[in-house]
């Protein structure tokens, strides 16, 4: 790789006492798609931010096309054609696509904003890059995938030829991921260079030309993708052998809960004809009925935005329901609010951990008892030693890093934040667990671990309703698989009969079936 577009050499970046990057090296060839993989907290995002000029490294060198640019700021990075697409979108929801794109460098006629010119330049950019978005739509009306495309366009609009994408697929549904790959290939064909952070090894194989693996702040290796196997990359990431969820599916040694759907087993959760309304649209959940028995995992597959989120939120008591019944162990709870439902045994791993699942300002220890504070208090006084012991135990059990109970949750990587939520929700007494995207944005080691915990809970007689945009995950965990499409459950199959090939047509609406079980 003599012709490196982007190079990082011996980068060191510290935050207080934490070394996020210890000795990070990266060399991205011009015109290639380069994947950066690593566990949560391995320092991927930090390194990318150093490259994009958001962070100044404590040591080391950054080069762009051979030119030393260490310590530059985002403005100069953009001027040099390096742009970053962040994991969390930075768009103004009330503005249109065109307005968002030109924000900061608006075309004007006199002192007036020339929206026609803005729209025009956006259209021509779309045409050049093959990224399709209607410039006149408001951003808050866009799907997640479309919003991400706007983010990419925004960076391109500012003239970037080297794009850094921080976990772009974490928020996307499978079809959206495929569209993203098309976009990235178009950019590559145009001669642009792309750096993609990801957790998912199949994505590495699918899209990248080369892959750099990071572990504990260091880069442990750089491979041509064609020479690498997912297992080898996983081993480099974690430093040991890992059972990949995909392997289970492929090799068929899936271990469902004792005898697969056992009709005699007690019904823990029974949902009948549930309707969740949406303003001025068809209902988000349109008459869903399902049953989850003790000791079974029911997985809901489907393209995101087909009512899964609304269903889970309605079951958790976070969203009003229009009609239908929800029974927990035979008891009608549809009128219960979120607290009452938690009290009778519903546990919930929310999709949006930062907004709903955590108090980011609170320490790891305090987040681990959020919602259980009354149990850690004696006559209203918090028993700090018990809180601390609970934290030590959970941090150890779930391998939360850094293993320091007093660190605020804000300082943790997304995957470790997720571990706090999972640890807490699975640590309390519950009979039904609603798990929404339980491993989104989590590294392979932690995925393996969270999956093992979910199976253990199932084997312990708990009922689990799983929603995941990741079909591989649903197939790896569920005893029965239901597919949601446009607010309805279009098919329910025992795991043995479910496969990507069988479920695919239902997920895209190409086929509608009757309930089989």
């Amino acid at each position: 790789m003599t012709d490196s577009a982007l190079e990082a050499i011996h980068i060191v970046k510290r935050f207080g006492s934490v070394e996020a990057n210890r000795d990070a090296n990266l060399s991205v060839g011009a015109g290639e798609i380069h994947a950066v993989v690593g566990e949560n907290g391995a320092g991927k995002s930090t390194l990318m931010r150093v490259l994009a000029g958001l962070f100044v490294p404590d040591a080391g060198t950054v080069r762009v096309h051979g030119r030393n640019v260490t310590g530059w700021d985002t403005r100069r990075a953009i001027a040099a054609g390096v742009g970053m697409v962040h994991q969390h979108f930075m768009l103004v929801p009330t503005l249109t696509v065109a307005e968002n794109l030109v924000l900061g460098q608006e075309p004007t006629r006199g002192v007036r904003l020339d929206l026609a010119a803005a729209s025009e330049s956006v259209n021509s950019l779309c045409a050049r890059t093959g990224l399709r978005v209607d410039p006149s739509r408001r951003v808050d009306a866009l799907s997640v995938g479309e919003a991400q495309r706007v983010e990419i366009l925004k960076v391109l609009y500012r003239g970037a030829r080297i794009l850094i994408l921080d976990e772009p697929t974490a928020v996307l549904s499978p079809p959206e991921v495929r569209e993203l790959w098309t976009v990235l290939r178009t950019l590559k064909a145009r001669g642009d260079t792309v750096v993609v952070i990801t957790h998912k090894l199949d994505e590495v194989a699918e899209i990248s030309d080369a892959v750099t693996v990071m572990r504990a702040g260091e880069t442990v290796g750089c491979l041509r993708t064609q020479d690498a196997t997912p297992a080898a990359i996983a081993r480099m990431m974690v430093g040991r052998d890992v059972v990949l969820a995909g392997d289970l599916v492929r090799h068929g040694d899936h271990a469902p809960g004792a005898a697969v759907p056992d009709v005699a087993r007690r019904v823990a959760l029974e949902v009948t004809d549930l309707v969740v309304a949406r303003p001025r649209q068809r209902p988000a959940v349109d008459g869903v009925s399902l049953v989850v028995r003790e000791g079974e995992i029911v997985g809901i597959a489907g393209v995101e935005g087909n009512g899964q989120t609304e269903l889970i939120e309605a079951l958790a008591g976070l969203r009003p329901t229009e009609a239908g019944s929800v029974r927990l162990n035979g008891r009608e709870i549809v009128a219960f609010d979120v607290r009452a439902r938690a009290d009778v045994g519903i546990s919930h791993i929310p999709e949006d951990r930062q907004r709903r699942g955590l108090v980011l300002e609170y320490s790891i220890a305090d987040n681990l008892i959020l919602g259980l504070q009354h149990r850690f208090a004696h006559r209203g006084v918090m028993q700090r030693d018990r809180v601390r012991r609970n934290a030590d135990r959970q941090i150890e059990a779930f391998d939360i890093r850094p293993p320091r109970p007093d660190v605020p949750a804000r300082a943790l990587s997304g995957g470790n934040q997720q571990k706090i939520v999972v640890a807490r929700e699975m640590g309390r007494d519950f009979s039904v667990l609603l798990a929404a995207q339980p491993t989104r944005g989590v590294d392979v080691g932690a995925i393996e671990f969270i999956h093992a915990r979910l199976r253990a809970a199932r084997d312990g007689g708990r009922a689990i309703l799983l929603v995941s945009a990741d079909l591989v995950e649903v197939l790896a965990l569920a005893d029965r698989v239901a597919v949601m499409y446009e607010g309805r459950i279009v098919v329910t199959l025992p795991r043995a009969q479910a496969s990507a090939e069988v479920l695919g047509p239902y997920m895209t609406g190409a086929q509608r079936g009757a309930k089989l079980s």
Binding site: V56, P57, T70, G71, L318, P350, L358, E361, G371, M382
Partner: protein, 361 residues
């Protein structure tokens, strides 16, 4: 809100790191000089009147700090839970009115119980005044910032009416109540000073609240609600509406108590302008304390001292008290901005150093 909290943690360190006193005196000196007054004599008088003697501390600074302390706690507590109670001023003056009512109407038969009942009445009045905006917030989501400010005006005019009507002194000459009898006065801690037990009560309350926020389940809930109400409700299983309602009323009680302590311990009568804006200064007191109850104590004493010193300056050198208020406002601005400016400069410096390092290679 959380940004405010984080910002102010460093403000607290800055404020009580000592350098603040120098800055403060510098700005004040400059302003006085600009006004054409003798700087040396003015500053001397300011210091003498605030911290220059035990008597200045005990009869002036601490006395003026007492209502600031209680209203500062009221503001800090409510802000921590995400309730922006700007109505401490109104709650204070109705508290003062209620205490006055008890003191001059019921002192005869309450006997030694007059002061406790007086203070209870003050707190109850503060709650009553907070109930309106709290209910509007809970029932209709009316922003409390607006409603509490409006309630302040109502309270001020209500007291104006009371001291010219039902509570006016018997001769009907002055717009004020009659003076409290001995039994209705909060005793001073020592016969020689004006400092009353209300100050001690305020400090105990500050310590208690500081402890309670940190170490009780309720405190855990209050802070969670303040920084992330959604997670508090959905994951924390906290009834956010109920909790903020209770905190709102508690905040009103503290502010009302401040009014009771002011009339029962200092003025011994109710009159127009019984509060020179304590409830507003309280917002600065609370913010400067980083919304931490225990830090409200030094913060209130600082403002109490400035106010006591200003009075002395006015008395001795005829510097208008407005000058000190002007400087107080400048100080608040500077202190609120300082931590952010320092952080910005540090960031810049780090960037420059990194660039230089590269250049040297």
């Amino acid at each position: 809100m959380s940004a405010i909290l984080r910002g102010h943690a460093s403000t607290v360190r800055f404020l009580f790191g000592g350098s603040v006193v120098v800055v403060l005196l510098g700005v004040l000196a400059g302003t006085i000089a600009l006004g054409g007054f003798p700087v040396g004599a003015s500053l001397q008088s300011l210091v003498r009147g605030s911290i220059g003697s035990p008597d200045a501390l005990l009869s002036a600074t601490f006395v003026r700090a007492s209502p600031l302390l209680l209203t500062g706690l009221a503001v800090a507590l409510s802000f921590r839970s995400g309730v922006f109670n700007i109505g401490a001023e109104g709650q204070l003056v109705v508290g003062a009115a209620a205490a006055t009512f008890v003191a001059i109407r019921a002192e005869q038969w309450l006997d030694v119980w007059t002061v406790p009942v007086e203070l209870a009445a003050a707190a109850a009045a503060g709650i009553a005044w907070a109930i309106v905006p709290a209910w509007l917030r809970r029932r209709f989501r009316v922003p409390e910032v607006i409603t509490t400010i409006m309630m302040n005006f109502l309270a001020t005019f209500l007291v104006s009416y009371l001291v010219r009507g039902p509570l006016q002194e018997p001769t009907r000459v002055y717009p004020q109540s009659s003076t409290f009898a001995e039994l209705a006065r909060i005793p001073t801690v020592h016969p020689m000073v004006r400092l009353h037990w209300g100050f001690v009560l305020a400090i105990l309350l500050a310590l208690f609240l500081g402890w309670a926020l940190r170490h009780t389940a309720s405190g855990f809930r209050i802070i969670a609600v303040g920084v992330n109400p959604r997670a508090a409700e959905e994951t924390g299983r906290i009834d956010v509406d109920r909790l903020t309602w209770l905190v709102f009323l508690g905040s009103g009680a503290l502010a009302g108590l401040a009014g009771g302590i002011e009339v029962g311990g200092v003025t011994y009568a109710l009159y127009d302008n019984v509060s020179p804006g304590y409830g507003y200064t309280a917002i600065a007191v609370a913010l400067l304390a980083g919304l931490q109850p225990v830090m409200v104590v030094p913060s209130a004493i600082l403002f109490g001292g400035l106010s006591a010193g200003a009075a002395a300056m006015q008395r001795d050198v005829a510097v208008p008290a407005g000058f000190v208020e002007f400087v107080q406002a400048l100080i608040i601005l500077a202190l609120l901005a300082a931590p952010h400016i320092v952080a910005f400069m540090q960031q810049r410096l780090a960037r420059l150093q990194a660039v230089e390092q590269q250049g040297a290679r």
